[in-house]
Amino acid sequence: MSSDQTDTTPGPGAARTDEITSGFPEAGAPRFESIDAVRTGLAGVDYLADDGISGVVYLADRLAKPVLVEGPAGTGKTELAKSVARLTGSRLIRLQCYEGLDESKALYEWNYKKQLLRIQADSGQSWQQLEEDIFSEEFLLTRPLLEAIKSTEPVVLLIDEVDRVELETEALLLEILSEYQVSIPELGTVRASQIPLVFLTSNNTRELSEALKRRCLYLHIDYPGLERERAIIETRVPGISQALADQVARIVRSIRSLDLKKAPSVSETLDWARTLVVLGVESIDAEQAKDTLHILLKYRSDIDRASKELAGLDTTG
């Protein structure tokens, strides 16, 4: 479908006006049938969603609203966006946020150097012509947000770690999140020809602004329960036995219930399970657990604490 559209575009000059004026954002055909369809679909691409996750993804599609995903590190926030992209066969466009991110890195930038070259190369033209020329799309460098808006094929836009940008920069996102459009003073407004599914992730290092939150659906992904974690281990770690997966999930749950600096995340759990498989462990005993804990926990004091809790009873008993 997408290839058809690009083929019919005659040339860069003509395409410009078309793309900018045409295409009012309309809610396209729904991507998902029902909440259960989301869940089974995600399971098909090895992402095990719970009620909350699948419900919110379904709703995001129906209401054409972005999703703000929060939760502890390593619980699969970014992975969710990737999986949804894989499920819907869309292109994933990712904007990694960091402190100091600005318009020219997130939205668009004029290619100054090329504009300078253009001016120097041909000085015979009238100013009017020249001005029209250098502020055309040829000299526009699209950045992820504009890219997602302009794309004619289906897109999943992932704005990663949005809490890292300054409060003022958040305002950049507001227009695109609520109207799915970008205003460029020299060119006019670029509207989306299709509504992208937008995921914003946050590690909650600061409170996001009310304006941003209001425009999003909110999804909090916490550590999974025992059943779900076991299922995740089984799907994501090839060659693991059911008994081992069960044991891993239970040990991890016990460790999370301790008062630690940083509880083991799902990705660390998976790393641990993989290690155990590579080591050829069939069932974990206290000694092995202690030796491999450093994969699960990243602080010295946490490791000491956990090994004391899990295995320290050995010395007394």
Partner: protein, 494 residues
């Protein structure tokens, strides 16, 4: 349905969750897309548009349970015969032939009364052992019937019913029984197989895992009982009346001085992210503050990429000096938890101050700064304060006068014009001398003197509180009852 939603949103707002009009509209829109018979789906999708912070989720969940609770004849309080509830139970239980049979027998024997305590205990034990969800629900229902002693029409929140039910079930004993059972099973197994001695029992690791497993099931049971009680209360008195009586404050709005143990745990949990956020915010404020004078060198350097034309001027950023903080905290019984939270918060963001020194007192005073040095986690240091600091001089009742005088004699020299002094306490001095001249002296040397009082403003200067006398010499006396107020104060300070 829309009326119900409006009432629900009103309740959320009353509980302190900010819900804007557009979020309300989104929620209404949501209901068009989600099948109404799927209660879980409704809960999560409504939550997605109404609740925008994970700390608000428990409050949302409670409100949701009340407004969208299951209704039916089975949940009314006056149940002489629980046919509705029982029937359902039986259907679910029959999947497990052995247990279903037992259940049937219990009902047959007890008739309208339900089952005997022994049978109920036995059923509970079986349900927990088998991790059978429907059975756990059934037990919860039975237990509430039997022990809750619920009376119709009483304007209560249900905590008492919960307490009564749980006390009768004696979950600790059940836990021990489960563990014992597991131990016996393992040793029996080993004896049968014969490749280990019969005295071999569970390894500590296994026992620990089992314990956690059962603990989570017991927690589930507790939740079931709680929601069962709530459902009945809703059926009895309607959503709105009930919502009012069981509304819980959000963690940041809990009154620190009168917090229950559970609330204190919640407070402690929310303190860590709170202080982290505060530190990030302050650091940003410092860096992105005002613009300073032109940085000529940097401007020229950056002009090279535009062919020597200084397109973008560069500025030197001012580096405002960080304040020094001295915290003097009363840690006598009444205000201890408040002092702990404040010390915790101040030290968690100590990178935002050039120096932080802490003193604690009851009637004697002691410096505790060293406890916080080289410790990553303020919790530990706060714990050491409680056990090690030497703060009792005579009888262990607050004596502000003596404590302040000693402070002035020993450390008064170290207050400089760059120092901000925070005094923490309710100023309930047990009618001792006030020593307010010390505060006056401190005021003349320090940059600022603030007094944080964890009591509501209305109680100030009543009884033996003499905060007014100190207030004469303070820049400001601040009421600091909740984490939110504390956060705001510390944020302004730095």
């Amino acid at each position: 349905m829309l009326d119900l939603l409006t009432g629900f949103v009103g309740e959320l707002r009353a509980a302190g969750i900010p819900v804007s009009l557009s979020e309300h509209l989104d929620a209404a829109e949501t209901l068009r897309h989600v099948p109404l018979e799927d209660r879980e789906a409704i809960k999560y999708t409504l939550g997605a548009s109404l609740v925008k912070s994970s700390t608000h989720w428990p409050a949302y969940e409670t409100a949701f349970e009340i407004y969208f609770s299951l209704r039916g004849p089975g949940y009314s309080i006056a149940t002489d015969d629980e046919s509705g509830a029982e029937l359902e139970t039986d259907d679910e239980g029959s999947g497990q032939p052995g247990q279903g049979g037992r259940q049937g027998k219990g009902r047959g024997g007890g008739g309208g009364e339900g089952m005997t305590p022994e049978e109920l205990a036995d059923m509970l034990y079986k349900a927990l052992l088998g991790a059978n969800n429907s059975m756990i629900q059934a037990v919860a229902r039975q237990a509430v019937n039997r022990y809750g002693g619920m009376e119709a029409g009483r304007p209560v929140g249900g905590t008492y019913y919960l307490y009564r039910t749980l006390r009768n079930l004696d979950l600790d004993k059940v836990m021990e029984r489960l563990i014992d059972q597991a131990r016996q099973a393992t040793s029996a197994e080993n004896a049968d197989e014969g490749h280990r001695g019969p005295d071999v029992t569970l390894t500590p690791l296994e026992e620990r895992l089992l314990r956690d497993e059962y603990q989570s099931r017991i927690d589930q049971l507790r939740k079931e009982i709680e929601s069962e009680i709530r459902r009945r209360l809703v059926a009895d008195r309607g959503s709105e009346a009930l919502a009012k009586s069981i509304r819980k404050p959000l963690p940041e709005d809990i009154d620190v001085m009168h917090a229950t143990r559970d609330e204190l745990v919640a407070l402690r949990k929310s303190l860590a992210p709170l202080s982290r956020k505060l530190a990030v915010r302050l650091a940003r404020k410092r860096r992105h503050g005002r613009k300073g004078p032109l940085d000529f060198r940097s401007t020229v350097r950056h002009s090279l990429s535009t062919g020597g034309v200084p397109v973008e001027p560069r500025f030197r950023y001012p580096r405002p000096s960080k304040p020094e903080i001295i915290v003097i905290a009363d840690i006598s019984g009444s205000v201890a938890s408040f002092a702990r939270f404040t010390l915790h918060l101040v030290h968690a963001i100590s990178s935002q101050f050039s120096k932080v020194r802490s003193f604690v007192f009851i009637d004697g005073i002691d410096e505790v700064t060293s406890y916080f040095e080289g410790v990553d986690d303020p919790t530990e240091a706060v714990h050491r304060i409680n056990t090690e600091a030497d703060v009792v001089w005579v009888d262990g009742h607050s004596d502000y006068g003596h404590a302040l005088t000693v402070f002035w004699e020993r450390w008064g020299e170290e207050i400089t014009p760059r120092t901000s002094v925070l005094l923490l306490g309710d100023a309930r001095n047990n009618y001792h001398a006030s020593g307010s001249w010390v505060v006056k002296e401190i005021r003349s040397r320090a940059r600022h003197v603030y007094w944080l009082n964890p009591e509501p403003r209305a109680y100030w200067d009543s009884g033996d509180s003499i905060v007014g006398e100190y207030a004469n010499y303070c820049d400001e006396v601040v009421e600091c009852r909740t984490l939110r107020q504390l956060e705001r104060f510390v944020g302004e300070l730095a």
